[in-house]
Amino acid sequence: MISFSSVAKRYPGGQEALRDVSFTVEAGMLAFVTGRSGAGKSTLLKLIPAIERPSAGSVIVNGQNVGALKRPAIPYLRRNIGLIFQDQKLLYDRSVYDNVALPLAFSGQAPREAAKRVRAALDKVGLLAREKANPVQLSGGEQQRVAIARAVVNRPALLLADEPTANLDAESATRILEIFVAFNQVGVTVLVATHDQALVSRFGKQVLHLEGGRIGAAP
């Protein structure tokens, strides 16, 4: 599903975020990317939906060389990837329902089918009752669940989450991770970046540990 080979990423300022990173995550797996802040976790995740391009090496997603993808092709790549961010990136000028429905605006579903999908996604994250609320009215954990619902509403084959639990208490964080596990159990490939080593060890899944931009042995 995801294959990095000898990937390096240097930012324009000369800062080297990733060095010689190679790994493979098979389809249907749930894997964690761990490491301290600044170790390159976010950069690694951003290379997959072509938010950033590698400076060297190749990033293959679903058989596609993402690093060489032409700009107009990028949106179609992203439609098959659900993205979840630490800061949720919700829109606060509209309801929970409309936030989740956003990706369906351009994927061509009929309104009836779209409504069904939005409610199904909200149901999976346990927020069906809050569809009319504004995201501001929700707790941090609930907002992150809205973001997850938005990420899965298009039924992507791959979910990427960058520090989804960073600002949450332990209980909310566990709940979020359980949702990821549930999606993984129905066949979605999931890659979660986190600095919370303790949380990761409880799940016993594949771990890619980053240190100073290189893959190292997990501590």
Binding site: L77, I81, L83, A105, A151
Partner: protein, 296 residues
Amino acid sequence: MTAWLRQHAEALRRAFRRSTRPAGLLGALVIGVALALPAGGYALLEGARALGARANLDPQISVLLRPDVKRADAEALAGALRADRRIAKFRFVPREDALKELSAVQGMPEILAALGRNPLPDAYVVTARDEAIEPLVADLGKLPAVASVQADAQWARRLAALAAIGRLAVWLLAALLGVGLVAVTFNTIGLQVLTEREEIEVLRLIGATDAFIQRPFHYQGLLQGLAGGAVALAIVGIGLTLLNREVGTLAASYGSAFRFAPPGLGDAAAIVGFAGLIGWTGAHLSVSRRLREMGS
């Protein structure tokens, strides 16, 4: 196909909502006021042209003979006129006929009676073959029996020439204002894009194409332009109505029913279409530039 239509309808709905906000209405007003200038100028020029066309634009020349020229000599002049290749046709007007024509004008018989004699000379009315009548006028003036030569159509042709200059000025004005209005739309749509920056960034992350993101802005520019065109038409219409009240009084004193006509359906459509094109162009330049700046 239905998905495509649905997306366009949704984009149009959003654009309409934005256009009816104060900033959108103000933008349309700016476009309308600016376009009213060339549109109004055009309407005035069309009026002037109609006035000129109503006058006889044929290069017609009146050749007045000296009063002491005998009728036989006067008729003999016809041979010389017939030989001149620059003359299309001519007509001899004896002084008696001219007097009869003049007497038909109200008030004239009294004046003529007071004179006691026919003050009019024999004359030829000559129609030239082409527009360059000045050499012909000069040559006719040199004939021995001729007292004076008048080129009647000259004022009308001067009016036509002035109208041509005016038309050029109107087109230049329209082009200049068009560029200026593209810049105005560029600016207002650019600000709109900035206020929606957050949403645009999210849309890009979840796989929206640039075409999808640009669409509401395109429609917004188009709507703003079309509304501006309608405002321009309204201003011209109201302006001409007010002007026609005064013109009517003036024209009536010349025994004319002349009025400035409002722009016809074709002209109105052209003005609104031009305004819409301006809006769309400004919006397109603006939003594609902003999207490039934001990266991918």
